[in-house]
Symmetry: C2
Subunit: 147 residues, 2 copies
């Protein structure tokens, strides 16, 4: 399971690098679908991941507000700030934990949801990238050393 | 691991249903990014999945040709035709199998690649759907009974 999170973090960080070659205006430009802009997609990925992991840890639900993170720098910093807690949680994952329940969901269901959620929103970025005439970040998982 | 494949198959089948409400012309219309059209994305997902599973089973590499499957009916039938072999393989998955090697890749790396590959291309469909003014299929994994 950790491998799939590591994949998401590598791809996410590659996209943050990609963003440095694009104007903040384009990153925030309203687009059709997803969360409505490139930066909002990235912010949303970060926010949803931390929110679910908090939930699995028994903490109260908490969401960040995109209005407070509407720059590449601040969204990227938020991603780095939230990662250690997620990583600490995921690296201790086991099939037994996956059978626990959070409301009507199993922990396993939630952790797989978080993984799929990020990949889905990254797929959306790849279309917007092509629409901008730019090469998107590779979505390949093979070849990243995530054995 | 099987749960993530089941998620992909549910979502894929939902998209095939979605396609029945869209003209074949729109399904084949050239679009920016992904594999270039809605139907080609779906065909590509099916083809890549079967190709990698064949590889993990020690079979020779084989790819279908989109020119032979450029209708909703034929792509959907191909998806259904390929699924049993994939399912039989994935349901017997174990961490030990994940450590085997296929060329320079581990089996685990390949199986995670196949999962992420489909979710990524489905994310692209969701943008094209919104660009068509249509509601995309939900990408939520939670709530699908995939516990």
């Amino acid at each position: 399971m950790l491998n799939l999170f590591q994949y998401n973090w590598q791809v996410r960080d590659d996209w943050f690098d990609w963003c440095t070659y694009v104007s903040e205006e384009e990153l925030l430009r309203a687009r059709v679908g997803g969360r409505g802009s490139i930066l909002h997609n990235l912010f949303h990925i970060v926010d949803v991941e931390q929110a679910w992991i908090r939930g699995l840890k028994g903490k109260s639900e908490f969401h960040y507000d995109f209005n407070d993170y509407s720059s590449l720098k601040s969204t990227r910093e938020l991603s780095m700030k939230c990662r250690p807690e997620v990583k600490d949680y995921v690296k201790n994952w086991s099939n037994e934990i996956g059978n626990l329940k959070l409301d009507e969901f199993s922990y396993g269901e939630v952790i797989r949801h978080v993984i799929a959620h990020e990949i889905h929103h990254i797929g959306q970025l790849s279309i917007w990238s092509r629409e901008l005439g730019l090469k998107p970040i590779s979505a390949n998982l093979i070849g990243r050393g995530l054995i």
